[in-house]
């Protein structure tokens, strides 16, 4: 979590739809794209995203943080969770 904040990832990325709008929501990126995908993007960047000069340990910590967030729930609410009153039925974790 420290690296997420120190690198100010929230300026561009969201977790649970909360954060910046430049890049994708990363809540479930660990399960959807995998560890190698995260490592490649962080290390080399993209046209929009700067490359981050992180050590192996720091990269491990960032991947572990995203795995921890991923395990907490899903960012997108499925159709089946929408109640007729307009609210959601999402089990608390």
């Amino acid at each position: 979590m420290r690296l997420w904040q120190v690198s100010n990832c929230a300026a561009c990325h969201q977790l649970y739809g909360l954060g910046g709008y430049m890049g994708p929501d990363l809540t479930n990126v660990h399960s959807a794209k995998g560890e190698a995908h995260i490592r490649t993007f962080v290390r080399y960047g993209t046209g929009r995203m700067p490359a981050h000069e992180l050590s192996e340990e720091e990269l491990d910590a960032l991947v572990a943080f995203l795995a921890w967030v991923d395990a907490s729930g899903r960012s997108r609410v499925p159709d089946s969770a929408v109640h007729w009153t307009g609210t959601f039925d999402i089990p608390a974790r």
């Binding site: 979590m1 100010n8 649970y16 909360l18 430049m22 729930g73 609210t87």
Partner: protein, 443 residues
């Protein structure tokens, strides 16, 4: 007006100008990533957001501390006020230096190194000491705006502390716990400064209309109670999609947005009671308050839709959230605060700046409407593609959104120009007043 009050108002206006410049630069960085080296978005965004938040907080407290001198029968001793301003100004400078050095570490909106929260907290305690020293001399049954200022100041302290609870390891044991506490504090903090700003709006209505009755009686206090309920419980809409405890979602949904409806009713009642002479005498402040009312109406409509979880599912995490935030911070808060500053510096006493301010207000209002609609359009496209079509690839998702973001950037230049003219004129009036009345608290 005393030199301390002038310093406070000038600081607020400078922060507004800074937020405007950084906002335009960040928008260009957002739509044109090739400018990344010249315009680093990861620095511009937090600097813009912090400058905007600091403008609102500094502008709100400038009004409260100025108006308290009129409301509470206590002679002005500016030591605590000056101590607050000295520490507050120094800390804000340190925040922007930290951003310039890419030195981050805090949470969204407060992304500076968390150590800087310590002087900020001490500064707020000094402000509270200054306010409550005078508050102790209040009348037996103070009008509603006094309760609103008091509530806002106390809840800002509470929410500011809550916002830093993440530094205690227990709050980081589970991600849901830490996410819930973070967005509980962020949401409630907005309610805290709204209490201060709406309190000042109500005070100005009383002063302009000459009717103290709108700040007294059960109906007025019912409005305050509902605002307080919103402050304490309506933060849950940030977390509808997260697997938190169900009551958070249901309470936030239930409480919804009654505060806005009552605010419109109060302002409409005020309008009906104004006589023509008084309205013209204080025209600039009145016009800003009416501008705020227009944005309350628009934002109320949007907020009511967004507060329904089934609709929020499409809008959450899209630019519609940004439209709502911009409508609230620029359309409502900034308009009321500029009206408040115009009142404090007595802008209508000199015709020339008042005319330029009106031109700026019309430019800002028109541009903000385009800006707001462009963001809603961008959000509708993104929400539909992500939720209804289930597109997950970010590039594919965002491609059709780009034209709306270009329109948003162009309109943002109009907002920058309009508000920039207003802030510059108000600073010039403040400076000329400084020369005319260097050490007085009275006109």
């Amino acid at each position: 007006m005393s030199p301390t009050h002038r310093w406070h108002i000038a600081l607020a206006l400078i922060l507004l100008l800074l937020a405007l410049v950084l906002g335009v630069l960040a928008a260009f960085a957002y739509i044109s990533p090739s400018l990344g080296d010249a315009l680093p978005f990861t620095q511009l965004r937090p600097a813009h957001v912090s400058a905007a938040l600091f403008w609102i907080i500094t502008g709100a407290t400038a009004g409260v501390l100025r108006y308290k001198d009129d409301v509470f029968p206590l002679s002005d001793r500016p030591f605590l006020h000056r101590a607050f301003l000295f520490l507050w100004t120094g800390t804000l400078i340190a925040v922007f230096i930290a951003y310039g050095l890419k030195c981050f570490g805090g949470r969204e909106y407060w992304e500076f190194p968390p150590l800087l929260a310590v002087p900020m907290l001490i500064a707020w305690l000094l402000l509270m000491a200054d306010y409550f020293r005078a508050w102790l001399r209040r009348a037996a049954a103070p009008p509603l705006y006094v309760w609103m200022w008091t509530t806002g100041i106390v809840f800002f302290l509470i929410t500011f502390i809550e916002q830093n609870l993440w530094q205690i390891p227990w709050f980081r044991d589970t991600y849901m716990r830490e996410l819930t506490v973070q967005w509980k504090s962020n949401g409630a903090m907005v309610g805290a400064w709204n209490q201060m700003i709406y309190g000042s709006a109500l005070y100005l209505m009383v002063r302009i209309g000459g009717d103290e009755g709108i700040a007294r009686g059960p109906r007025a206090f019912l409005f305050w109670f509902l605002g307080l309920s919103n402050l304490m419980f309506n933060w849950g809409h940030h977390l509808y999609n997260a697997p938190t405890a169900g009551w958070i979602r249901h309470v936030a949904y239930g409480i919804s947005m009654a505060e806005w409806i009552l605010l419109i009713n109060i302002i409409r009642g005020f309008k009906g009671k104004l006589d023509e002479h008084r309205r013209h005498k204080h025209l600039t402040t009145y016009r800003f308050l009416i501008g705020g009312e227009f944005w309350v109406f628009l934002n109320l409509f949007l907020a009511l839709l967004m507060s329904i979880p089934a609709i929020n599912r499409y809008t959450h995490g899209t630019h519609i959230t940004v439209a709502h935030a911009m409508g609230a911070t620029i359309g409502i808060n900034t308009m009321i605060l500029l009206g408040s500053v115009a009142w404090m510096v007595r802008v209508d006493e000199d015709g020339s700046p008042a005319r330029w301010i009106e031109r700026g207000r019309i430019t800002a209002m028109g541009s903000l409407l385009v800006f707001w609609l462009a963001l809603i359009t961008a959000g509708l496209i993104k929400g539909y593609r992500a939720t209804a079509l289930g597109i997950t690839d970010h590039q594919q998702l965002m491609q059709p959104v780009q034209p709306s973001l270009v329109a948003f950037t162009i309109a943002g230049i109009g907002v920058f120009a309009g508000l920039g003219v207003i802030a510059t004129c108000l600073l010039m009036v403040l400076r000329s007043e400084d020369a005319a009345h260097p050490n007085t608290n009275e006109p």
